[in-house]
Amino acid sequence: MSSSLQSLQGNKACALAAVAAGCRFFAGYPITPSSEIAEKLSRELPRVDGVFIQMEDEIASIAAVIGASLGGAKAMTATSGPGFSLMQENLGFAAMTEVPCVIVNVMRGGPSTGMPTKPAQGDLMQARWGTHGDHPIIVVAPASVQEVYTETIRAFNLAEEFRVPVIVTYDQIIAHLVESVELPRRGEIKIVDRKWADGTEHDFKPYAETDDLIPLMARPGDGHRLHVTGLTHLPDGFPTQKPDLASKALTRLLDKIERHRARIDKVELIETADAEVVIVAVGIAARAARRAVETLRSEGIKAGLVRPVTLWPFPEEALRTAAANARLVLVPEMNLGQLVLEVERVLGRGVRVAGLNRVDGEPIPPAAMVSKIRELVAQ
């Protein structure tokens, strides 16, 4: 039996991918436009001996997810804008305690309750910097239902491999879009499981620095009897306030992501080899940008697209290379200018960077990108 082709809604593809990736625990609180993920998993998880629970709020949801992951389960939650904001404190806890988990944030209009049934891309920076303190994070931003499927699986794998919360973020359009998805057979899906500590030794150091900077996890019940705390802690798991040790502990958290960028980075480059105009976009905006690139090319403008699939850490090298010969970089995004800040940071003052923004609950059409670029090129 080969892979099967199915018509799937984005959110349902996300739920099915989670189960395929080995997710066996979901805790969530209903919020539009993410609710179908919870609804689907409430049916799927009991069938695979997993647990679905609808918690009293989003804070409880991510707390339960972290608790379940500490118990050994692959765990996830799904939410949208306001709910994602509520999860931020515990997202920091998961980063600090290095607990693998997946958080899906289906972006909707904001701030506050905004436009619940309309798409937006206003949470790109919240995904990176939402919680307090400096913290590692991985964010993936799929742009099609197929990619929602593959990136949700990859999110679980990255979470397990690097012991970090991984955020999957896409907008309401992709959430509710129905597209053909090729579902691979079970044996064809690459599944990564966290590295468990061998043995049961009681003096096991749960945050001991390993060569790859990723400590081994220990399962409760195996005899290690660990302490887990969100306080800055030593390799033995107990708190410290010693300046040099605290600095070392926090720096390792960021280094464990930076050092392994080659395994985390994923970026789609379209026609960037000779690009004089580069569009940088994610999610639904990138799909429009793809069409814009085709149109511009047909008009003789050498345009290309950089689409970060791994949004954070940001694909700095790929962007620098793609924009090496560019005289203009356009960042179309459905917010008032977030991704553009990162593009400006990476490219410095060497290249002209412009934004194209829309926050009325409608997607940015390819024609708007084309005319903006024509206008800027003519100047």
């Binding site: 009991p46 001996d49 339960a64 608790g67 515990n90 302490h227």
Partner: protein
């Protein structure tokens, strides 16, 4: 070693992470008695510490769990019940005990408490009630008695207090109990019953904050504060009149409510098994 410890084979040192001593608790703090009573109950019940998980929140109570040589989780303020819910659902084989403070349980985590009571997952929640926010410097808590002076009620607390046991009972907790730290053996026995209970158990432990609450309100030293907890004790029935000055008065102790209700985790797993059986047919 005191007399009570001598007549049992319980040695608290067997259960503590001695490398963390001396502990951080203030002289006279009742949290140590609560900790010791919990460990004594664990000892009496013969619980395998490898399968014992202690989940705590933030504050003085939050730091107590770290001293226990078991699987200990020091989580975020107000959220230990929510963490514990995920842990217990993923790992029904673990005995999960939540240690939370009055702020953890009744203020920031009030929502989680009422839903944990309603859900009836097999967790034991010990609420260490010292009537104050100790770690942040003695601010008013939802259980600070009326008229008391705290660092945020300079002219005396004007808000009525929660009767946590009544709240837990009304929200559906299938086991509700309260004990005072003066009665360590009774507290131990209450915690034992709570852990043995199949479902959500809520135990309010009346403890004392001598250093920054008692002193500010001229309540005496630890012995006076602990003794005063037993004033007007009523052996059964829920406490009432929580807006009276000082203690909930009269304050009931012991097992205050026990109901047979379906345990949530088993109910969920049974239904999931039915679903799988239906699918397999």
């Amino acid at each position: 070693m005191n007399e009570i410890a001598r007549i049992t084979d319980f040695d608290v040192k067997d259960y503590l992470r001695l490398h963390l001593m001396p502990h951080f608790m203030c002289p006279g703090c009742g949290h140590g008695i609560a900790l010791r009573s919990l460990l004594w109950a664990v000892h009496d019940l013969g619980i395998d510490r490898n399968r014992l998980a202690i989940v705590s929140g933030i504050g003085c109570s939050g730091r107590v769990g770290a001293y226990i040589d078991a699987n200990t989780y020091h989580t975020t303020h107000g959220r230990p019940l929510a963490f514990a819910t995920g842990l217990k659902l993923a790992r029904p084989d673990l005995t999960v005990v939540v240690i939370a403070g009055d702020g953890d349980c009744l203020a920031i985590g009030g929502n989680h408490l009422i839903h944990a009571c309603r859900r009836n997952l097999d967790l034991t929640c010990l609420m260490l009630n010292n009537e104050i926010y100790g770690m942040t410097g003695g601010q008013v808590s939802p259980t600070t008695a009326a008229t008391r002076v705290t660092s945020t009620t300079p002219s005396g607390n004007a808000e009525p207090t929660f009767d946590a046991c009544k709240l837990a009972d009304a929200a559906g907790a299938s086991f509700v109990g309260r004990e005072v730290t003066r009665q360590a053996p009774a507290l131990k026995n209450l915690i034992k019953s709570a852990i043995e209970h199949d479902g959500f158990s809520f135990v309010e432990v009346m403890t004392d904050c001598t250093e920054i609450y008692g002193r500010k309100n001229d309540l005496g030293e630890s012995p006076e504060m602990i003794l005063s907890q037993k004033c007007d004790m009523v052996p059964d029935g829920l406490g009432n009149a929580p807006d009276q000055p000082f203690r909930p008065n009269p304050m009931a102790t012991g097992i205050l409510a026990r109901h047979a209700r379906p345990e949530y985790g088993r109910t969920y797993r049974d239904r999931a098994a039915d679903l799988r059986a239906e699918k397999g047919r």
